[in-house]
């Protein structure tokens, strides 16, 4: 009797989700349409079926998402028959809660934090499941599976609660919440292997396709209404795919001919660069870019 490492990771993630459902009053699952949160949804099915999920799903929609991802999001939610809340960054801008960045490098990445925290407060959520993994980034490597957030939504990296065995401390006061990362111990390759094992659908942009792109800071960005070209940047068509799903303004594509799931898994297994290093401009701002954003309440 033996479990594979993926089965072990799956069993642990299901345990985490059930702990949260049992101990917290009003959880929510953050679903972006990206590969990690797609896996979260399958784990939620495994944890709670044949019953409904004991929480709604929520997407923080920047308005700058890939249209393929939004279409996938809505289709997947309809298939599951669960409830989706869309928290809109555009509405936060319209309400004057945040101010849009300007210039060719403008991004709504940072603005999402306010929209997320406002939505958590508005709905009274006390736990938010996210698909973040510890292998993504070094500040995340230090984060707990159940990670406490104060009443400002902030993370205190030096004051984290010790987390031992599989015993989670989800005790909070009103106004505080926990972020919960059932995929903490999964790697990017684990996620893809799980997607393959489970036969999960992912948005088409994860597979190689022809797209009009331009090169900036060594990364390939999609031509879209949300970016302005700077002098010298020339659009061209290339065969690309995405390793992560974020805003069109700050998510880079990689050159690829991987059109099937097996090709993608093989590509990830052989990669020489991390997914965030390769495709996320938001992590390149400074050495502690992720830590700083997380302290402020980012995912």
């Amino acid at each position: 009797m033996k479990l594979t490492h993926l089965q072990t990771l799956e069993a642990e993630a299901i345990h985490v989700m059930r702990e949260v459902a049992a101990e917290l009053e009003k959880p929510v699952l953050l679903f972006s349409g990206g590969k990690d949160s797609i896996v979260l949804l399958r784990l939620a099915e495994k944890a709670f079926r044949p019953a409904r999920f004991p929480f709604p799903l929520m997407h923080v929609d920047t308005g700058h998402n890939f249209p393929e991802v939004i279409a996938f999001r809505d289709r997947r939610v309809a298939e599951l028959g669960e409830r989706l809340i869309v928290a809109s960054v555009q509405e936060s801008i319209d309400a004057g809660r945040v101010v849009e960045e300007t210039g060719p490098r403008a991004s709504r990445n940072r603005l999402q934090t306010t929209t997320l925290l406002d939505a958590i407060a508005e709905h009274g959520f006390d736990a938010a499941f996210g698909g973040a993994r510890r292998d993504e980034e070094r500040a995340r490597a230090k984060e707990r599976i159940m990670s406490f957030r104060d009443d400002f939504g902030g993370w205190d990296p030096k004051g984290q609660r010790p987390e031992l065995w599989n015993i989670y401390n989800g005790r909070i006061r009103r106004g505080e919440h926990v972020r919960v990362f059932p995929l903490s111990n999964w790697t990017e390759l684990d996620v893809w292997q799980y997607i393959a094992t489970e036969g999960l659908e992912v948005p088409s942009i994860y597979y190689a396709h022809e797209r009009e792109v331009f090169r900036r800071d060594g990364m390939l960005y999609a031509i879209s209404p949300f970016v302005q070209l700077i002098d010298g940047e020339e659009p061209f068509v290339d065969s690309v795919r995405y390793r992560t799903v974020g805003d069109m303004s700050c998510t880079g594509a990689v050159r690829s001919t991987a059109t099937a799931l097996d090709d993608v898994v093989a590509e990830i297994a052989a990669t020489e660069i991390t997914e965030r290093g390769e495709t996320r401009a938001d992590d390149r701002v400074s050495e502690a870019a992720m830590e700083d954003r997380k302290v402020a309440g980012y995912f």
Partner: protein
């Protein structure tokens, strides 16, 4: 003994930059191709020198101070196994973080600087590994290049560790590997410099150490975590993660604390029903009789039940600034059960460096470990930690701050 292994090995390392810990981890990850090009670039300081400590010290404060404070988790895989590495600090003032990283580990790497031999920190790390029930230890004798690859130096370390072997009761096996993390000798590749060493290089040992028989006892332990109900299909199942033994449909089982006996009707998962479930599987159990079963209950077999008691004795690692004292009241979380606990007495405090227990301690301060008597508000169904890590462990929570302040390993009732 039941085998429920997976191809996943969890290991913990403890130490600081001085011990060559970061170099060793960097070497393992690098040679296992788990450090990618952009991360490698990131590890170069302004002068272009490779600084492997930056790999594990993920927080701004850690990089500023040049020390490991909190546990960092690292992931790598070889063709044979997948590894989760909990990298923990080595200094005594971060014992609680070491305990945290050790709590889930199957194997601990204890680093010894060949120049210094076995020192207090060696004994402390080995003791914590034993206390946390880690079955396998690797003593990695590092910096062998600085002692001329001396077999006598290595043998001396083996001898000194053997001298306190008796005080590591839960450690099943100890392997000794002479290495040079800096040069790579015996880390991934065998060393040409130490032909007298007949054992495996470190990574190969990690790939092959037998973990199959570790986790399980034959005793069925299923803490009920969550009740799944579906009105439409009139479904009612008890969800949880198997903590020991094997569960099969048709089994007669005992539910604690109600002491009711019933039969397992079925084991359900999203992927269909199962003929058997074992640790660490997450499943949903249907019972034949309509009993009052809820979260915090424990399902076992009538013939091998755990203790059911309100009094327990445990080794506690204290994790808060405010000390633990007799009379202190805390919330206790044990498996899926929550209750309140009061400290009846502190039996002793462990002088970890000397591996001695000293009676008469008035309190346990931050990072102290000691034997404590607790009384709980409700009976807990528990085993000794040495028998079952899941049903033998608990945490204490300060009800005023909600902080996790203690980690307990049950010795007896």
């Amino acid at each position: 003994m039941l085998a429920t292994s997976s191809d996943l090995l969890r290991l913990a390392t403890a130490g600081s930059v001085d011990d060559g810990k970061s170099t060793l981890i960097g070497r393992l990850l690098h040679d296992a191709k788990a450090i990618l090009a952009d991360q490698l670039d990131d590890l170069r300081g302004r002068d272009g020198e490779l600084d492997l400590a930056r790999l594990t010290d993920g927080l701004r404060a850690e990089r500023e101070q040049g020390i490991t404070i909190d546990v960092a988790y690292r992931y790598f895989a070889t063709a044979r196994r997948t590894f989760i590495l909990a990298d923990t600090p080595g200094h005594v003032q971060y014992t609680r973080n070491m305990v945290t990283g050790a709590s889930t580990a199957d194997l601990a790497i204890v680093l010894v600087d060949a120049r210094n031999g076995v020192v207090e920190q060696t004994r402390r790390h080995a003791f914590i590994a034993s206390l946390l029930g880690i079955p396998h230890i690797v003593v990695a004798v590092n910096k062998m290049d600085l002692v001329d690859w001396s077999e006598e130096v290595f043998d001396g370390v083996v001898r000194d560790v053997c001298a306190f072997r008796d005080q590591l009761p839960s450690v099943r096996d100890i392997a000794y590997v002479p290495i040079s993390a800096l040069r790579g000798d015996n880390v991934v590749e065998p060393s040409d410099e130490m032909p007298w060493y007949g054992g495996l290089p470190l990574l190969e040992h990690l790939e092959t150490v037998a973990i199959a028989a570790d986790r399980d006892t034959d005793e069925l332990r299923f803490p009920v975590q969550y009740v799944i109900r579906d009105g439409a299909s009139d479904y009612r199942g008890y969800a949880g993660q198997v903590a020991g033994g094997v569960l099969r449909p048709g089994d007669e089982v005992l539910v604690l604390p109600s002491e009711r006996v019933t039969t397992v009707e079925g084991i359900d998962t999203y992927d269909g029903t199962l003929d058997e479930a074992f640790a660490p599987m997450s499943v949903t159990v249907r019972l034949a009789d309509d009993l009052d079963v809820s979260r915090g209950d424990l399902i076992c077999r009538p013939g091998d039940r755990p203790a059911l008691a309100r009094d327990l004795v445990a080794d506690v690692c204290w994790m808060a600034d405010a000390p633990l004292r007799p009379g202190g009241r805390y919330a206790i979380k044990h498996a899926t059960h929550s209750a309140r606990a009061i400290v009846d007495a502190i039996d002793d405090r462990v002088e970890v460096g000397a591996l001695q227990r000293e009676a008469g301690a008035a309190e346990l301060a931050l990072n102290d470990i000691g034997r404590v008597r607790l009384r709980t508000s409700k009976p807990l169904a528990f085993d000794a930690y040495a028998r079952n890590r899941a049903t033998g462990s608990f945490i204490l929570i300060d009800e005023a701050t909600n902080d996790t302040v203690g980690a307990g390993m049950i010795v007896a009732s």
